[in-house]
Each structure stands twice: as structure tokens, then as C-alpha cells.
């Protein structure tokens, strides 16, 4: 484990708890992010599939909303996003953004 990553997570956690209240808490975000992890490395590594780390909550939310709206440019992300409610998109975006070394 790289120390950089660990401290980034710690920072992410602070953000997580200061921003999120009870409803749709971070545990839901973590469970949803488990789906992301089947294709996207959550340590920010990897090639071939675009990284979702370091994008920030707003960009992630907007990307998921755009994928949900259209089959193009990516039918895989279209299927994933179509299965998510607005609330789920918000909680997974918040969780994944908090994993980043550079949220937003």
C-alpha cells in the first residue's frame, strides 16, 4: 500500500463524514462502489478503462446522469447508470470522489 493513497483515503473520510448525514450514508456508497471496482481500479491504477479516481463528486454525478440518458458513447455504462436511482448516483459519486487523491 502506498502511503500517499492511505493519507488520501483519510482525507476522503473526513470529507465523507462532514458532508453526509444519515440518509443514503457512506455505507450505501461503498456497496455501490463495489460495482465500479469490477472494472475500474479504485486505487487509481490501471489502463484501458478510464480511471474514476480524482474526478470529484460533481463530474462523477454528471457523467452518470449522461450515461443514464444515452446508449452512446458506452452501452456498458448506460446499463449500469440505468439501474441507479438519483439518490444512488449521489451516494456512489460522493463515495468514489472521497477515494480520490484530489477530490474535485
Amino acid at each position: 500500500m502506498r502511503p500517499v493513497a492511505r493519507s488520501a483515503i483519510a482525507t476522503g473520510l473526513v470529507l465523507l463524514f462532514s458532508q453526509s448525514g444519515a440518509a443514503a450514508g457512506p455505507d450505501q456508497g461503498a456497496q455501490l462502489a463495489a460495482t465500479c471496482a469490477s472494472c475500474h481500479r479504485l486505487d487509481g491504477g490501471g489502463t484501458g478503462i478510464p480511471s474514476i479516481i480524482g474526478l470529484g463528486e460533481e463530474r462523477l454525478t454528471n457523467a452518470l446522469l449522461a450515461y443514464r440518458a444515452s446508449e452512446s458513447p458506452n452501452h456498458i455504462m448506460h446499463v449500469i447508470a440505468l439501474s441507479l436511482s438519483d439518490e444512488e448516483i449521489a451516494s456512489v459519486a460522493r463515495y468514489v470522489a472521497a477515494q480520490g487523491s484530489n477530490p474535485r
Binding site: R6, G25, D27, T35, S38, C39, R41
Partner: protein, 422 residues
């Protein structure tokens, strides 16, 4: 047993991926014990997500092999496009980073009333919950003459390992002009597109190395997964090289003769230079022995918790289950495993439950730089796993789109195996 508050659980899952081990252990109380049998894709994923999401659970993983070789991407290895090492994954990260107790033994019996598992070395493990993910076994006598000795001559290569190496050696030493016969199994079986992906990649290898060789697919079915995409690609990339004979033309494969490397159907005998015989399948042996499979040979489960419909306290994921619309794929095994791990964590620690999300995503190679993908989402409906939304690549896609999919597939392999094995 301590029941975790949302906030505590949230902190654990939030930090889980990297810092589970740094969390102080709950002291002075017995931990709940989960035993996972089978360290393949389904079992390793359950173990990892349970260990990462709840430090109040002690997770033991039972798997005889020291390293796991993935079936997915083994067709690339078969045809010289990947090394065997690149398919191999050990259990060190699961043990060291996630604190999972990994025992390299086979489970030989399950005693649900006593809640114990007997191992090959004579020892016993007690559990509060058991997860069984043994993958597949081959049905006995599905093809006459296809026994263990015949497998060494006409490999199935449907579990990755020595069988896959054997088939590669045979393909490499085959003379140009030889006939490669692939016997494709009846439904349901592990990875519906994989026999046809194998035929495609072997064709691309032959084109490079043995251009006069031919491929004959003798199918137990009359149609197959993504048939339009495969047949379009075979015409484009390998015209005249691959012949596919459905069961309605041949009556299906009834027997083999290992001595002459022949495959026998109702009306004809095909003598092969190399034969890849993929027999009919069922849930892994342990599931049969332990009464977890019904008469279909597969294991019925609750589609939300993946608890066995036949043995309470025992959960199953992966190829061994009756997955409804979910195909027997690594992606599905991984997706089911996460839902199962979260359900067990909720039962044992009182953590919050959320609706599960189940998916299949699959990249399939038609040629080294031509891959297609599909994606399906699933939901439990009336006790069954039903597909909800499904998209697949189209025949008329540009070669650039297909090249991109082949590149994405490489990235998927890296991220996915990282997700399963840490």
C-alpha cells in the same frame, strides 16, 4: 455479538479497501465465523468483501490450489497472445492485506446441523455461516468414452491450468492442414460465448501459423450466444476456415475414441488432429455431495441473499447456482459474491441493507484486435433472477470501436483480478 451502528459500519466500509487491517479489532467478544469454500472468482470475492466490510467477522477461505489461473483470457494464452503467468493469481494479498485465513486444502464434507466443514487433512472448521463456491464439474458419461484418461488426450481446458497448457501444446505441435475439432456443450454451461471465442482465436492463430488448418465445431445446441456477431466475424476474418454444425445436423456428439482422436456423432466419425471436448456440466462435486444441488444438477438459491434453498445457513455463488437469467460468468460470480457478502454482513453485524445491484459485463474476442462487449442488469423477481436491461455490440460497428473494446478488455482484466484477489 456487537451490532454495528451505521456510522461505525460506514467507517469500516469507507476505509475498507485499504485500511481494514488498521482498524482496532473488537476486543473481548467472539467474532462471527464465516467459512468460504472455493477460492475461485465467486469465493475469493465473497471472502474479500466480507473481510473488508466487517472486522467483526473472521473469514476463512478454503482452496486447495496455491495459485488460481483464470479461465477468462485463457483463450488468449492458448493462441500465444498471453503468458500463463499473466493468468495466475495467488492468495497473499487476501491473507496479508485483508486478514483472511487461507487454508490450502479441499473441503470433503459439510455438516449443516453441526455447522462444521471437514477438510481433506482430517481437520474440522466450525462456522456461523458457510459460503460454497465450487464452480463446475463435468457430468459423468455425458459423452461415451470421455473419462479422465481421455481428457489427457482430448483436453476440455474448461478449468484453467494443466488442461489449458496441454491444449496449447497440442495446437502448437499440430501440423499445418490438420483438423481442430471443438465439441461445444449443451446449456447451461460455464461462459456461453467462450467456446466460440476459443474457435475465433484459434482461427487467428492458424491464420498466422498454419493457414491450411481447419476448425470444426460440433455443437450440442442449434444456436449459440451472440451467433450473429461470431458468424459475421468468421466470414470477415477467417473465410472458409471455421465450420459450425448444430445438433440438428449431426444428432450431437455421442462418443469419442481417444486412441484415434475421433469424435463420433449419430451419423459420422470425425478424426481430429487436435480435439477439444467440452462436456455437459453441473455444480461442483462438493455441492452434489452436500445436498446443495437439486435434480437439475445445479443449486437453487434465494436471489437476494444467495442462501441455499435446500440448506439454511449455507450460501452459494458463481457457476454452481441456478442463476435464472444470469449466465455462468466470472463477472456474474463477482457481482453475486458482493451481494452475498453484504447480506451476510448485515445478518451477522446488523449493518444496513440496501438493494443489491447485479450485473454481467463481458468482453469477447473475435480476433486479437476485434472484441465485442455486452452488459446486462438483473433483479430478483418472484424468487428468480431476471434480466432487466441488456445491450450488446452490433454487427455493423466500426473496426475502431472493436479495437477500443479489445483494449478496454485488457484494462478490465487488470481491474477485475485486482478486485477479486486484491
Amino acid at each position: 455479538m456487537k451490532s454495528w451502528t451505521r456510522r461505525e459500519f460506514g467507517r469500516l466500509t469507507g476505509a475498507a479497501l485499504l485500511t481494514a487491517l488498521n482498524q482496532p479489532k473488537a476486543r473481548g467478544q467472539a467474532k462471527a465465523r464465516v467459512v468460504v469454500i472455493g477460492g475461485g472468482i465467486g469465493g475469493a470475492t465473497v471472502a474479500r468483501y466480507l473481510a473488508a466490510s466487517a472486522t467483526a467477522i473472521e473469514v476463512t477461505l478454503v482452496e486447495p490450489r496455491q495459485t488460481y489461473a483464470t479461465c477468462f483470457f485463457s483463450n488468449l494464452y492458448l493462441t500465444g497472445l498471453r503468458s500463463f503467468e499473466s493468468l495466475s493469481h495467488g492468495y497473499e494479498a487476501l491473507a496479508k492485506q485483508y486478514g483472511i485465513i487461507v487454508i490450502h486444502e479441499s473441503a470433503v464434507a459439510i455438516h449443516p446441523a453441526a455447522k462444521t466443514v471437514a477438510l481433506n487433512n482430517g481437520s474440522k472448521l466450525s462456522y456461523d455461516r458457510l459460503v460454497v463456491a465450487p464452480g463446475i464439474a463435468f457430468r459423468d458419461r455425458a459423452i461415451k468414452g470421455y473419462d479422465e484418461a481421455a481428457m489427457e488426450i482430448m483436453p476440455h481446458a474448461w478449468n484453467a491450468g494443466q488442461q489449458t497448457r496441454l491444449l496449447r501444446q497440442q495446437l502448437e505441435s499440430m501440423e499445418d492442414g490438420g483438423l481442430f475439432v471443438l465439441v461445444a456443450p449443451p446449456n447451461p454451461f460455464r461462459c456461453p460465448p467462450a467456446p466460440y471465442e476459443r474457435a475465433s482465436l484459434v482461427a487467428s492463430y492458424f491464420q498466422r501459423r498454419k493457414p491450411k488448418a481447419k476448425i470444426l465445431i460440433l455443437d450440442a445446441k442449434d444456436s449459440f450466444n451472440a451467433q450473429d456477431l461470431f458468424q459475421d466475424a468468421w466470414n470477415r476474418h477467417y473465410p472458409g476456415m471455421i465450420e459450425w454444425l448444430p445438433a440438428q445436423f449431426t444428432g450431437g456428439v455421442t462418443a469419442i475414441d481417444a486412441k484415434t482422436r475421433s469424435v463420433i456423432t449419430a451419423g459420422a466419425t470425425f478424426k481430429a488432429a487436435v480435439a477439444n471436448v467440452i462436456p455437459a456440466q453441473m455444480a461442483g462435486r462438493l455441492a452434489q455431495l452436500a445436498g446443495l444441488a437439486n435434480r437439475s444438477g445445479w443449486c437453487p438459491v434465494d436471489p437476494v441473499t444467495f442462501e441455499s434453498a435446500l440448506q439454511p445457513g449455507v450460501h452459494l455463488v458463481g457457476d454452481a447456482i441456478i442463476g435464472g437469467d444470469m449466465p455462468k460468468s466470472a463477472f456474474c460470480a463477482n457481482s453475486q459474491a458482493k451481494a452475498c457478502a453484504f447480506a451476510i454482513a448485515a445478518d451477522l453485524t446488523g449493518s444496513a441493507r440496501f438493494p443489491a445491484h447485479l450485473f454481467n459485463t463481458c468482453y469477447t474476442y473475435l480476433a486479437p484486435d476485434d472484441a465485442f462487449s455486452n452488459a446486462i442488469s438483473f433483479k430478483p423477481v418472484d424468487g428468480k433472477l431476471k434480466s432487466v436491461i441488456s445491450f450488446v455490440s452490433k454487427v455493423e460497428e466500426s473496426s475502431e470501436v472493436r479495437r477500443q473494446a479489445a483494449r478496454a478488455a485488457e484494462g478490465w482484466y487488470d481491474a477485475f483480478t485486482h478486485d477479486v484477489f486484491g
